[in-house]
C-alpha cells in the first residue's frame, strides 16, 4: 500500500532549532493554543479587521455551467456564454446577474486539486491543505477565527448558516481549540438553547449572571487566570449572541431585500449572512447542498445556478454599496468541479483536474480572470493552481502573512498554508 500522499517533505525543511524553540510554548491550560500566537503579530493582524463571507457549494458545482463556459464545444453543454461588465470575460448564461457585478470579482479558472471523492475533497479543500501533514488542519473558518478573533464584536467569530440542523461544528477546528468551531444556524435558525426560557425574566437573568460573574471573580482571586477567563469568555459570548436576536429572526428581513436576494433558501441565508457581517461576525460561512449532479446535470444547474446567481450578485452589490467590500473577502467554493465528459445519465461527475473558483473583496484584484483551461476544458492550460495557492492568497489579503505566520502543534511548527505554494500574484493589487 502506498501512503506517499499522506506526507510532504517540507516537514524536513524545518530545523531542530525551530522545533525546540517551539516547545517552550506548549502545554498551556485553558487558553490552549491561543497563547502560542506571538502577541505582537496577533495585535497587528486583528487591528486590520478583515471579514470573510465563505459560500460553500457542496457536491461540486460545474465550472462549465458557471465560471468557465466552453460554448458550442464537445463538452460545452447546451448553454450559451454571456458577456459581463468586464470586456473579454464571459460566463455562463445561467448567471446573468453575476455578469453585471463581474467588475467586483476575480475568477480563477486554472484550479487543479487532489481529490475526486467528496469524503477527501470536502475537508481538504476547506482546510486548504492539499497534502496530509500528520495533523488535522482547521477549516478556513476556524483558522480565520483563531487569527482574527471576534474583532471586538463580542459575537462568535465563526458562524455557519446551512440547511438542516444547527448546533456547533467543533470538528472544523482541527488542532485548534474547540472554541474556534462554528456556531451553526441550521436553516438560518440559531443553535439549541440560544433563546432564554420565558420563565426567566430579564431581571432574573441579570441577577443570575451577576451572581455567576461574582462567583467567578472570587474563584479567580489567587489562582491562575486561565480557567476563569475561559469560563467568562464563553458566557459573555453566549449572552452577546442571545441579545442579537435580529441576527436570526428571519421574519424581520426587509421585503425588498428578500426580493433581490431571492425568496429561496440560499437567498435568505446570504441575506442573513450580510446582516451578520454588518453586525461584525468575522467569518460567515453559507452552505448550499445538492450540487452533485451526476444525473441530469444541465437541468440541475438550470435550477440551481440561478439561485446562487441572484443571491451572490445581490450580496456582492450590497457589500460594495456599503463600502464593505474593501474589507470583506467573499469566496465561492466547492470541493471540486465537474467532468467535461457528459455521462449516460446526462450528468457530469467529479473533476478536480481543471475547475474554477470565484472571489471578491478585501483588496483582491477586481474584474479579472486568472488562468485558463484548454479549448474543450479538459485540462488546465496555464500554470495549475492548487487550493494551497488560494489559501496563501486569501490569508495574505486578510493580513495573515502566510510566509511568516505559524501554528505550533505539539512539537511541530506548522505553516498556515502549504509552504511549497505561494499567493497568486495576479490576484494581488
Amino acid at each position: 500500500m502506498n501512503y506517499a500522499h499522506l506526507c510532504k517533505p517540507w516537514e524536513h525543511a524545518l530545523t531542530r532549532r525551530q522545533l525546540f524553540g517551539s516547545l517552550a510554548g506548549v502545554g498551556l491550560g485553558a487558553a490552549g493554543l491561543a497563547r502560542l500566537l506571538q502577541p505582537a503579530a496577533a495585535a497587528e493582524i486583528k487591528a486590520r479587521r478583515k471579514q470573510v463571507l465563505f459560500i460553500w457549494i457542496d457536491g461540486g458545482m460545474s465550472q462549465l455551467e458557471t465560471w468557465d463556459p466552453k460554448p458550442n464545444t464537445r463538452f460545452g453543454g447546451p448553454f450559451r456564454a454571456i458577456p459581463t461588465s468586464v470586456p473579454g470575460i464571459h460566463i455562463s448564461e445561467l448567471m446573468p446577474r453575476t455578469a453585471q457585478v463581474m467588475h467586483h470579482l476575480a475568477i480563477v479558472r486554472s484550479l487543479h486539486t487532489q481529490d475526486n471523492s467528496h469524503s477527501a475533497g470536502v475537508p481538504r479543500v476547506q482546510r486548504g491543505d492539499p497534502k496530509n501533514r500528520g495533523v488535522t488542519y482547521p477549516f478556513m473558518g476556524s483558522a480565520v477565527a483563531y487569527w482574527l478573533g471576534d474583532g471586538g464584536s463580542g459575537l462568535p467569530p465563526y458562524v455557519s448558516i446551512r440547511p438542516g440542523g444547527g448546533g456547533f461544528a467543533h470538528a472544523d477546528t482541527g488542532f485548534l481549540s474547540p472554541k474556534y468551531g462554528a456556531v451553526v444556524f441550521g436553516d438560518g435558525k440559531p443553535p439549541a438553547n440560544m433563546v432564554r426560557p420565558k420563565e426567566i425574566s430579564d431581571d432574573d437573568d441579570e441577577l443570575r449572571n451577576w451572581l455567576r460573574a461574582n462567583a467567578v471573580e472570587r474563584y479567580a482571586a489567587g489562582r491562575r487566570p486561565t480557567a476563569a477567563e475561559a469560563s467568562n469568555y464563553v458566557h459573555d459570548m453566549a449572552r452577546t449572541l442571545m441579545q442579537r436576536e435580529e441576527l436570526f429572526d428571519t421574519n424581520s428581513l426587509d421585503r425588498r431585500d428578500v426580493e433581490r436576494y431571492g425568496s429561496h433558501q440560499l437567498g435568505r441565508h446570504l441575506l442573513q449572512a450580510r446582516k451578520m457581517l454588518e453586525a461584525g461576525v468575522t467569518f460567515v460561512k453559507v452552505s448550499t447542498y445538492g450540487w452533485d449532479t451526476h444525473g441530469d446535470n444541465f437541468n440541475g444547474h438550470r435550477s440551481l445556478v440561478p439561485q446562487l446567481d441572484q443571491a451572490f450578485a445581490a450580496v456582492v452589490e450590497d457589500l460594495a454599496d456599503r463600502g464593505m467590500l474593501d474589507d470583506v473577502l467573499v469566496i465561492t467554493l466547492s470541493e471540486f468541479g465537474r467532468t467535461p465528459r457528459i455521462n449516460g445519465h446526462v450528468g457530469r461527475d467529479h473533476w478536480p483536474n481543471a475547475w474554477s473558483v470565484a472571489m471578491a473583496g478585501a483588496g483582491l484584484q477586481r474584474g479579472i480572470a486568472v488562468g485558463h483551461t484548454n479549448a474543450e476544458g479538459t485540462d488546465v492550460a496555464s500554470d495549475p493552481l492548487d487550493i494551497g495557492h488560494l489559501f496563501h492568497t486569501w490569508f495574505h489579503v486578510l493580513g495573515i502573512d502566510p510566509t511568516s505566520t505559524e501554528y505550533h502543534v505539539n512539537d511541530q511548527p506548522l505553516p498556515v498554508a502549504h509552504d511549497e505554494m505561494h499567493a497568486i500574484d495576479e490576484l494581488l493589487v
Partner: protein, 358 residues
C-alpha cells in the same frame, strides 16, 4: 386484442445494424420517405445516414450546441430542427448539400426543448426555456403565435391527430391544451407527479408528449423524481383521457435508478414505444398498449437510451443509446493520452413481417 405471443410475432424488434458514433446524440428521426436517418448531436450537427446502406452523408451544420429537436414534415418534404441556443431551421435533407429553406435565429431565447409538425404539415410548434410556446408557418417560418401561459421552462409539444389541438408540457408537470389555429388556451391537465423539489433543486418535467393515433389518449412521459443532484426517480408515463381530461393510467417502468422516460412515440397500430435512461447503464426499450397494465415488450439490453425513431410503414425503428462500457474513472485518458468522450451508438431494428405466418 391479440395475445402477447401474436403481438411479439408482429412487433418484436430485431437488431439489424448499429451505427457507431464519436459523439452523443440528442434526437433521432427516420424520414417519411424512408431514405434517411437523421440525428441531432451535442456539437450542433445533424448527422445523416442513408437507410439503404447506412452510409453517412455529410452532417448539416448551422446549429449550435445541442440539437435536441428534429422532425420531418409528414409528407417528407422538409426537415425541421432546433437547438439549445434558440435557433429553428428548416431545410431539405437529401444529398450532400441540402438547401436551407428558412431559419429563425432566435426562435426562443435559449434552449428549444420541443418541436412538432402538424399532421397537415402546415404548422411547426416549438417550446423552450423562455417559457414560451411558438407556432410557425412550416412553409416560410413566419411566426404565427407566441403562447405565454406557462410559468416555467416548457419541455415538450405535440399535435393532436386532428391537427387543431396542440399540447405543451412544462417542467412542473403542467400540460396546456391549445387551439393551434387561434393560439388560444383550451384547458389544463395536471401531470404534476412528474415533478418535485429536492433540497433546493427543482427536478423532473414532462420530457415527452404524444397523442394516440385514435386521438383519445394523451401520454406524458418523465419520472416521478425522488431526489435531485444525482437524479433518481421511477420512469413514469401518465395517460389522460382527452374526452374527460382525467388521468386514466400511471404506468411505471422500473425502479428509482431507472429514472427518465426520455421519449415515447405512438405506432399507428395503437401502442407506444418508449425508451428510458437512468443511472449509468440503466436503460429500457418497451412497447405498451394504453389500457394494458404491463408493456408487452421490454428489453434492458440498451444502456441509457435517449432518443427513439419509428418508421412504421417500413417496419423500422432506431434507438440512440450510450456505449455499453462507460468510460472508467473520471480522469481516464485513452492510450494516446486523450480525454475520452462518451458516444451514442444508434441501434437499428427491424420489425417482423406482419403477413408472415403467426
Amino acid at each position: 386484442m391479440p395475445n402477447p405471443k401474436e403481438l411479439l410475432a408482429r412487433y418484436q424488434p430485431r437488431e439489424a445494424h448499429v451505427l457507431r458514433l464519436d459523439s452523443q446524440v440528442r434526437s433521432l428521426r427516420l424520414s417519411p420517405c424512408g431514405r434517411l436517418l437523421a440525428a441531432g448531436d451535442c456539437l450542433g450537427r445533424i448527422r445523416r445516414w442513408q437507410t439503404d446502406d447506412w452510409a453517412e452523408l455529410p452532417p448539416l451544420a448551422g446549429h449550435h450546441a445541442w440539437v435536441d429537436n428534429l422532425d420531418f414534415a409528414p409528407g417528407g418534404e422538409r426537415l425541421f430542427s432546433a437547438d439549445s441556443w434558440g435557433q429553428l431551421r428548416c431545410c431539405d435533407y437529401l444529398g450532400d448539400h441540402p438547401a436551407l429553406r428558412w431559419q429563425a435565429e432566435q426562435a426562443h431565447d435559449g434552449w428549444v426543448r420541443g418541436l412538432a409538425v402538424s399532421p397537415d404539415g402546415k404548422l411547426v410548434a416549438t417550446c423552450g426555456n423562455d417559457q414560451q410556446v411558438a407556432l410557425w408557418s412550416a412553409a416560410k417560418g413566419t411566426l404565427r403565435h407566441k403562447l405565454a401561459a406557462h410559468r416555467v421552462d416548457v419541455y415538450s409539444v405535440c399535435f393532436h391527430p386532428d391537427g387543431r389541438r396542440l399540447y405543451s408540457g412544462d417542467f412542473k408537470g403542467q400540460v396546456i391544451e391549445w387551439d393551434a389555429q387561434r393560439g388560444k388556451q383550451l384547458r389544463r391537465l395536471d401531470a404534476g407527479a412528474l415533478f418535485t423539489v429536492s433540497k433546493i433543486q427543482e427536478v423532473g418535467g414532462i420530457r415527452t408528449l404524444a397523442v394516440s393515433p385514435d386521438g383519445a389518449t394523451l401520454a406524458c412521459g418523465g419520472t416521478e423524481p425522488t431526489q435531485g443532484s444525482n437524479v433518481r426517480g421511477i420512469p413514469t408515463v401518465l395517460l389522460f383521457d382527452l374526452q374527460t381530461g382525467k388521468q386514466t393510467q400511471r404506468l411505471q417502468y422500473g425502479k428509482v435508478n431507472d429514472v427518465f422516460v426520455c421519449q415515447l412515440a405512438f405506432h399507428p397500430d395503437g401502442f407506444f414505444a418508449l425508451v428510458t435512461s437512468g443511472q449509468p447503464k440503466q436503460g429500457k426499450f418497451a412497447y405498451h398498449f394504453p389500457g394494458d397494465a404491463q408493456p408487452f415488450f421490454e428489453t434492458t439490453e440498451l444502456p441509457n437510451c435517449h432518443a427513439l425513431a419509428i418508421d412504421a410503414p417500413r417496419r423500422r425503428m432506431a434507438v440512440a443509446a450510450t456505449q455499453r462500457v462507460a468510460v472508467a474513472g473520471e480522469t481516464a485518458l485513452d492510450e494516446n493520452g486523450n480525454y475520452q468522450d462518451n458516444s451514442s451508438p444508434i441501434h437499428l431494428f427491424e420489425l417482423p413481417d406482419p403477413n408472415a405466418a403467426v
